[in-house]
């Protein structure tokens, strides 16, 4: 088991390295650097001004060297700029704080320096925790709505395959999972957050939910993400439930005269929930997709919103930080699902 987890961590680091290198390469393509220079300097800058800007700030060094500096395996650049000012990668930027270590030769992610957001003009490590906390809050409420909802629908539908209840609940879950967030979100806003249909119960903007989340401003973003995941998990639960309900031991229990209620609650449910558990954990990375769309749609300043902003402004180090965290989240949930699977299903042993 220990070896298994160790191996998983190895894979995690390798994936993170590959992914960040790809992101690094894409964001360091020259046209993207030009965008960066123009958003930082003046967006109507001349070409010569762009070149000196990039030279002075170390952006024109070779790609592997820059990547090494970001990682912290190569010493950071010290460049005497054409304007006479000396700029170093490891210099103190922004207001001094505990997170800003004093000058050192190496300052990469290995040394705990996540870099500097060129758009927000603050350390990446200052921004990401607040964004993650916001997204965490959103995800918590999504899970709280989605999991009980999905399991109830799935179990109810799977109890009696082909019944009216099964058909209607299945239809609902197929529709909800077939509607992506960028469709359902817009429909929900139009229905419940505008005066058009006389049902303006909620707010179509979640910007105020960052500080003060309440039912009014947080319901729509939560339900938009939850609906999408709910349908899928409900389908999986239903499939696994119907399979269990036709299993030999359930038939035996029925023949022995156990009540239907007891069959479902005591015998079927535990076995039926093994598959949905894995699905729920694997669903987390998918929900991150939804978070990107929903946070942007509802202007909720979380992780996904930050990703969109960083990507559109070519905020290199912010994007890299986001990539590292994404890799961590995705592989962690897989690890948890693998370990949890063992506990739920004693027949499986991980060698």
């Amino acid at each position: 088991m220990g070896l298994f987890i160790l191996r998983r961590f190895g894979i995690m680091i390798l994936t993170a390295l590959c992914l960040t290198f790809i992101v690094f390469w894409l964001t360091n393509l020259y046209p993207k650097l030009e965008v960066l220079a123009k958003t930082q300097g003046n967006f109507r800058m001349s070409d010569e001004a762009v070149t000196t800007f990039l030279d002075n700030r170390g952006y024109t060094q070779a790609l592997p060297i820059k990547y090494g500096q970001w990682l912290g395996v190569l010493p950071g650049y010290v460049i005497e700029g054409s304007d006479g000012e000396t700029r170093a990668r490891c210099e103190l930027r922004g207001p001094p704080s505990d997170i800003n270590p004093p000058l050192s030769r190496y300052c990469g992610i290995i040394q705990g320096n996540w870099g500097f957001s060129t758009v927000a003009k603050v350390e990446v490590s200052d921004v990401l925790p607040t964004r993650l906390a916001n997204t965490g809050k959103l995800m918590f409420w999504v899970m709280l709505v989605m999991i009980p909802g999905a399991l109830t629908i799935g179990v109810l539908a799977g109890m009696r395959e082909g019944s009216k209840m099964d058909r209607s609940l299945s239809t609902v879950s197929i529709v909800s999972t077939a509607t992506p967030e960028y469709v359902s979100g817009v429909i929900l806003i139009a229905l419940f957050a505008t005066p058009l249909f006389g049902m303006q119960f909620f707010k179509g903007s979640a910007a105020s939910a960052v500080d003060d989340a309440n039912f009014n401003n947080f319901f729509l973003p939560v339900i938009t993400i939850a609906l999408y995941g709910m349908g899928y998990i409900a389908r999986m639960t239903r499939a696994s439930m119907t399979e269990v309900m036709t299993a030999q031991f359930v038939r035996t229990a029925r023949l022995k005269g156990v009540s239907f209620r007891n069959i479902v609650m005591k015998h079927a449910l535990r076995n039926a929930l093994i598959a949905p558990f894995t699905v729920i954990m694997l669903q987390v990375p998918w929900l991150l997709n939804g978070v990107v769309i929903v946070e942007t749609l509802f202007t909720y300043q979380g992780f996904g919103w930050e990703l969109v902003r960083a990507a559109s402004n070519n905020d290199i180090e912010m994007l890299l930080g986001i990539s590292v965290i994404s890799v961590f989240v995705v592989l962690m949930t897989q690890l948890i699902s693998d370990i949890g699977y063992v506990f739920l299903n004693p027949r499986i042993r991980i060698s």
Partner: protein
Amino acid sequence: MTNKTLTGAALHPAVDVYVKDANAGKLSRREFLTRTTALGVTSAAAYGLLGLEQPAAAAGHAQQGGTMRMQMEVRALKDTRATDWTQIAFVYAGWLEYLVEYNSDGSFESALLESWEVNDDATVYTLNVRQGVKWNNGDDFTADDVARVISDWCDTAAEGNSMAGRMTALVDTDTGVAAEGAINVTGPHQVTLNLPKSDITLIAGMADYPAAVYHSGFDNENPLNDMVGTGPYISESHEVGVKSVLVRNEGHEWWGYAEGRGAFLDRIEFIDYGTDPSAWVAAAAADEIDMTYETVGDFVEVFKSIGYEESAIASASTIVVRPNQAAEVDGVMPYADVRVRKAIAMAVNNEVCLELGYANQGVVARNQHVGPMHPEWADVPATAYDPEGALALLTEAGMADFEMEIVSIDDDWRKNTTDAVAAQLRDAGFNVKRTIMPGSTFWNDWTKYPFSSTNWNHRPLGTQVLGLAYRSGEAWNEFAFSNAEFDTLLDEANALADADSRRVVMEKLQAILTDEAVTIQPYWRTIYRHAKPGFVGWDMHIAYLPHIYKIAIAA
């Protein structure tokens, strides 16, 4: 006010001519105000010369205190001279102020300068610095500060410094800094500018949004690091893309309080809802904002329908859809031929562009980039709309089969207007391809696309945009327009402080732009702002200038 001029000096000789013109109906009120106040006449006296009362400021109806929340993009602050978004200026305008203020009625009002005088041929400017102004760190604001800031503006080597373009008359082209002896401190509160050549746009340049006056300890990288300024507010928090909050600087005795200038609100919040106007409507419906920064396109109607008040002003903000004369496409320079450009101009009906591109929220223009809102505008007729003649001319130039690629940014009005141009060219029988680029990549090469559209902001004087965008070799000359006669005439126009004599030259300049068919400039935009009822002093500014101290809650 007893004095007719800000300094108490005699009226500039040109003022009499203006009064006659205005009374004869040759001059609109706004033009009259722009011209006379630029020559140092007080705005009260300027209204008086026309026999009018100056409209009372909103101050009488304002309530002291309160909070205002405005929807606005919150961007990172940078060197004030390199400011390329007025939204940035809205934030630092809390503590950094301007020497001169330009108002929507076209007048220039004194701010940190108490008054100024310009000599007849616009070569000597005497700037009188307001006395009794203090920086919020306790230092006195003096003529040295003004001289320092002006010479900083002239530094062409500073990265992204766009003020150098507004101060060209003071800049020595060899050294790239202010010419020796151009900026003189002639008293504790007086600065005299001796220009090597005439320039009438200097005062207008000092009123533009990057011209904020900062302290000598200013941090060029980020103005937030050291918020020393003369203004009434200070930044409480500034989170890019999220929110920026200005609060009253309690310890600071702002000079404007004694003058009754305002700064009524205790707290101003700028909240970022991204670039999609539907999110702004959602925010307004959710009562998360009190007003918009600017309302565009169809959303003007939407905001009206949710009960918001409207402020509209016809400005010189515009769009140009232009070919680049130096651009090479497949080894040829298609737009170097004036016949091709002329054909493009003849095939496009500007009224259609206004209707389809901007929902008729503006005034039709004549492809000359100078309009009735500018004092020196001359009534030069536009190229006649003639689609058949256009195709004939294009065929004559041998370019009938050439595929024109028209690039635009991916947004609402700029895209639609460019589409309207492309559609009309297609209707005329041209071979046209449309390309739409996202905002993040569009600006990379905005001056170099063979054929593309760009928006241009309002500028008080007609010669200003011509100098920035149409003079040969200028960085922002996206037309690659190079015409020696035009440059000479422009220099000549810039030496004429009197707008009437300037109009004679302007007529020729406008005629050159029409004959050379430099660009399509289909309309002047009316710009809008909407606010929840209950606020005063929030009117949309003709040049988006950040006069935030005027905003207040209605009493």
